[in-house]
Structure formats: structure tokens, C-alpha cells
Assembly symmetry: C2
Homo-oligomer: 236 residues x 2
DNA sequence: TAGTGGTCTAGACCACTCT
DNA sequence: GAGTGGTCTAGACCACTAC
């Protein structure tokens, strides 16, 4: 159908990328070098790079350059395997940074959990890395009554694990919403990418066995960093 | 942080779009007209449009123009509500076109279902519309032993419903994989968009109660057409 | 300070859609 | 045939990173 030169370029770059020995550090040569090598302009070359970025094969770190993307991480948002656990289980290196903890109301959380809009929450914001690449920025809002003294804990590990272990909560009713998005300024900065980069947003609302509101969270992932994988038994 | 002109343009266009009376047909003025109106070039203007496209606010129909995108469709891939049903339930108008039915082996289906690579499947390919916009291209591969004479049926309606109703199958074990992608040539053509457009791919593998392979399918959605919404009870 | 990607200009021609 | 988006050229300057 289309024989645009940038699509041809895309194919050739894709081949290049698939050779694991092609570049050091998984870093691509600069746009100017590539443009010259392929006898075209930076604009056209960048169209090809953008295409590969959409395919999830390469990504950029703001103004540092283009890099070959590692395989996607498998992630099951319906389970609480704990980020550190499932990243390690896939042979990757996890890291978590807690950016902020405080207590404050949050309208979307209140709405999702069916609480008054001025309801204060325990709020935790963190950034998570796979092999030293920041791939996820997330915020969690926990109903204080369900987990008093929560904020005195350590949040570099699984929150759900703590809710179960320290407060005996069962996270019985889970509602998930998941959609593609353009990453906003704040999250983009935290992830070291340009605002508007393609992302995947996962929002969860959790109630316990008595349908009491427990937690609401929002995850912003780099779109090419993950593959959502869910296993379900019975009940259609 | 950034005060690029195209981001300012993005803001102004976003405002314009949010006025439901701004354009007829939800169609934006042409790129040349907009570029002139905002005293810039088409290149810069297109950056702003691409931004809004990433946000899911507008979309293009190949060479026809830019359009304001309708709200996303809520979709639960773990259930078989039937496309027609859940689209109607959200006040939208569904339509399904069957593009192809045949019998043939398919390697990804065979691998996912744990069958020999030369295993033939009943194959159905269809395209689905919401309010006359093609939003989904999908292929389904069904194990013939589970549903003989399947291909004599009508596929403009729910396949899972038929598997349950006509063959008494329970779709007990469902494995889902879900990731962002760039839409490939064939699907792009079927959806009337440019190859490389952002998409969301949903792949499902279904076994029955005795863990016998039943079905494998692949859905390619326009990324801004849907919001995955899943409700889960118990068992973490 | 050199090099990178990010942004932008002012054009051009082409393939396709619409009527 | 007129108008649309799709592709492309050949430059330029800027903000930021890495050294």
C-alpha cells in the first residue's frame, strides 16, 4: 500500500536493533549520524524512530538519546505478587523510590470509593524501576480507618501484602480500569521522558469482604514497558 | 518546564474541542486552515494534533481529516456480554462485519493452546464498529473438535454465547494478554487508519472445564476507542 | 564545551477522498 | 478538479546532558 521512505527506514532500523551486538549500551547512534547514514533528513529519520517507538522496540530518555527497549514486563494487576517479586521472577532488577507520603483528600479516590469528597487518605507516591529504567509512577490512597499507622511503615515493598499482614484485610472486591494515555508533565518528569509520551494507566478500586472501601490507586506506566497478563478461573 | 509553542497550541485546541458546538460533524478544520489561524506551520500544528491524538481526544480517518473522538467504550474482556449488547448498553450503535471465515492452521493459536503447529482451526475474522467508526479488527481461532459446524453459523453476534449455547462449552480457564502496539498494515487498512497508529492488542486463550483447548483470539483496537474495565471478586 | 534530542520555518510534491 | 492529509527537504536555534 504505502512505500514511504520512512517505512523502509523503519524496517532497516528494526533489523539493526534485533542484532543484540549492534550497539554498545543498547544506545542507538545519534539522529544526525543515522540521518546521514541513510541519506535522509532528521525529520524523516525521526518519523521512522517514532514508528519503532510506537511498536515498543525503542525508547528515548529525555535529550539523552534513543535506546533499544528490553522485553516487556509481564504484570498482573489483579494479584498482589509484589512488584519486587514479579520483577525478580522475570530475571530483572527491581527498585522502588518513595517520592512522597502524606495525608490528604483526593477527589478521584473519594469518588471511586464512594466516600465524601473531603475524606482524607493516607497517600503514598512512588516511582519504580526495572533494570534502572524508571517505568512506573504511581499514587495510592488508603482509607485511614482500614490501616491506622500505615504511613509509619516501609513502602518500598508490597502495600497489599502489608494490608493483609498487618491489618488482616481481605482485598475481596477489585475494580480495574485500564486505558492508554499521554503521560502528563509531572509523571513524565518523574519517569525522565517527554510529556505526552505514550503511557498505560491502571486504576484500581479495592473493597474488603464487607464491601468497606480500602484503597484506590493510579499507576502510570511507560506504554512499552509492560504486558498485562491475567489468568482467570471459572465464572463468566 | 517546557513552553514549546506546540504545547500552547495543544491547550488551545483542547479548549476548542471541548466545546461540543465548535464544529459540524465533529470534524476539525483542515490543517492548513488551523496552521494559518494560529500563525504557525503545518509541521508545528501537526505536533499539537499528534499530542491530542495521544491523549485520545481526536483521531484521523486516513486522508479524510481530523475528528473529535467520542467517549471511550467500556469493555470487559473477561466476560462475554457480547459486543452488540455492551455497546448498546452504553447508548452507542454497534455493527459487525464478518470479513472472512475459513479453516487453517495458525501458529500463535496452536502455541497458545498447546496444540501441534499444523492443527487446523475454524477461523473467523471480523471488523466491528461503534457509531459507524471502525474501532476493532479481530480474528478468532476455534478448535474444530469443540465446535463442529461452527462456520455454518452467524458471526455478527457473540461467539462465546454460541459456544455455550450450541455446544454446552464452559469457558472456564481464560488467559488474557494485553499490550499497546502499533497497528499493522492489514488491520490499519481494515480500520481506515494509517499503519503505525497506536493500538491496544488483547489476546485471549480459552480452555474448558476439563482444560481442553477451546479458542484463541486476537483483538486489535484503536487505542483511544476503549477503556478496559474489569470487576473481580475474591481470591488474590 | 561538544554533542544530543526538541522545536520550528517555509516551502514542496504526492496519493487519496469528495463531489 | 479541488481539497485533504501524508511525506519530505534543508536548513535553523534552543535546552539540556555528558564530559
Amino acid at each position: 500500500m504505502s512505500d514511504a521512505y520512512y517505512l523502509h527506514l523503519t524496517d532497516r532500523l528494526r533489523d539493526l536493533i534485533q542484532d543484540p551486538e549492534a550497539f554498545e549500551d543498547d544506545r542507538l547512534p545519534s539522529e544526525r549520524v543515522l540521518a546521514e547514514r541513510f541519506h535522509t533528513t532528521r525529520v524523516t529519520l525521526r518519523q521512522a524512530l517514532a514508528q519503532l517507538e510506537g511498536e515498543g522496540r525503542i525508547h528515548r530518555s529525555n535529550r539523552r538519546g534513543w535506546f533499544v527497549s528490553p522485553p516487556r514486563l509481564d504484570y498482573d494487576p489483579t494479584r498482589d505478587a509484589g512488584f519486587n517479586d514479579y520483577v525478580k521472577a522475570q530475571g530483572r532488577r527491581p527498585r522502588t523510590e518513595v517520592l512522597l507520603t502524606d495525608i490528604r483528600p483526593h477527589r478521584p479516590a473519594a469518588e471511586a470509593l464512594g466516600l465524601p469528597l473531603d475524606q482524607p487518605f493516607h497517600h503514598i507516591r512512588r516511582r519504580r524501576f526495572v533494570d534502572d529504567r524508571a517505568v512506573l509512577s504511581e499514587s495510592l490512597w488508603v482509607v485511614p480507618e482500614r490501616a491506622p499507622q500505615l504511613l509509619e511503615g516501609d513502602f518500598t515493598h508490597s502495600l497489599w501484602g502489608q494490608l493483609r499482614g498487618r491489618w488482616g484485610l481481605t482485598l475481596a472486591h477489585r475494580s480495574l480500569r485500564l486505558y492508554s494515555e499521554a503521560i502528563r508533565e509531572q509523571e513524565a518528569e518523574e519517569l525522565g521522558v517527554a510529556a505526552g509520551t505514550a503511557g498505560l494507566c491502571v486504576r484500581r478500586t479495592i473493597l474488603d469482604e464487607q464491601r468497606r472501601p480500602v484503597e484506590y490507586d493510579e499507576e502510570h506506566w511507560l506504554h512499552n514497558a509492560l504486558c498485562i497478563a491475567v489468568e482467570l478461573e471459572n465464572s463468566v
